[in-house]
């Protein structure tokens, strides 16, 4: 059920601030080299953590990647913090 390619990318997004910054600026470009299926790639680009979790991404990564993870299961989408980085729905940003 777990999917290494998803989890590896989530893990590196969590641990590697430079990759994360590139991803936040241009998700497609940042993950162009990753070995992902089309569905996985689309879910990353959309910041759709629920789909990534259903495709085999570990919950704790899906929740905890700074700015990208749902961080508490609130279904935060990537586009929102990008447009409004102090969005109050993300408690980490408070």
């Amino acid at each position: 059920m777990s999917r290494y390619a998803i989890n590896s990318l989530l893990y590196h997004l969590k641990k590697d601030a430079a990759l994360r910054a590139r991803f936040l600026a241009d998700p497609e470009a940042a993950i162009a080299g990753a070995d992902l299926t089309d569905a996985e790639r689309a879910a990353f680009v959309a910041g759709d953590m629920r789909t990534l979790n259903e495709l085999g991404g570990y919950l704790h990564l899906v929740m905890s990647v700074p700015r990208i993870g749902t961080h508490g299961g609130q279904g935060l989408h990537l586009r929102e913090p990008l447009e409004s980085p102090t969005d109050s729905r993300n408690p980490r940003e408070e």
């Binding site: 059920m1 777990s2 290494y4 989890n7 590896s8 893990y11 969590k14 641990k15 601030a17 953590m49 629920r50 979790n53 259903e54 570990y58 919950l59 704790h60 990564l61 899906v62 929740m63 905890s64 700074p66 700015r67 749902t70 961080h71 508490g72 299961g73 279904g75 408690p91 980490r92 408070e94």
Partner: protein, 281 residues
Amino acid sequence: MGRIVFAGAMSHVLDPDYYQAACGDVGRQKVTAVMAAIAAMGERFAAAEADALVVIADDHMNAFSFNCVPAICVRIGRTVQRLIQAEAEAFDKVLEHMPVEYPLHEPLATGILEQGLRSGFDLAMSWEAPVDHAFLSPVNTLLGARPVPPLVPIFVNAFIAPQPTARRCFQFGQHVARVVAGGPWNVGIIATGGLSHFPELLLSRVGETDTVFDRKLIHWMEQGEHEPLLDLTADELHKTGSHEFLNWMVLLGAVTPARAEVRYFGELPRINLAAVEWRLA
């Protein structure tokens, strides 16, 4: 001869603001209550004047990478560092007032490791893994302003399947007790995490718990009836969101057949909070 002089288990996200955000006022109330219960346990821990504190917890994909996910890993060396991560999660961030570095109880950790490998436990060892909220939130809440005694952090793989079985975790706890008994130290031991939350590790089920299951676990712990707990399957633990109970199984092995006394149990939609202490002979 060494003795286990204190044994407790407790939830490990101990951050009122976090539960306020996740569950509203009731979240803040209940986590504040469980923290008060843990602090009271800390009075008894302090009175026991332990030489070392063994902390059994799980990694949240902070300490280890997919290069090597150990089933059970003993943190050895002289010191351990608090996880430091840019843009840490809120419940790790609240630990930022704590020291960066903690002493380890090197001879006890090394004893658990060496005697474990000699006894057929395939333990991993780490000199570098940092400790996150799973270790430090309970330690912080237990000790308050008191100095942190030398730690023996032990990582159990709770989340990345396949995990060790409940029975194996219990057996490892029995090993820990044998090592303590063979040494000269008075030792405290805590297990952290749980109770039920995040069933099936699915985002769509975050916010569900299994109170019936938790009460069953508590009943068996209160009775000192550990046999049924040994038979818990990976599937049961996964479906009920009881992954972190594996840490508790290690503690149960270390203290069996002692009986548990519940210091706090509180239901939240997101997780059932608990603080439990064992009545040691």
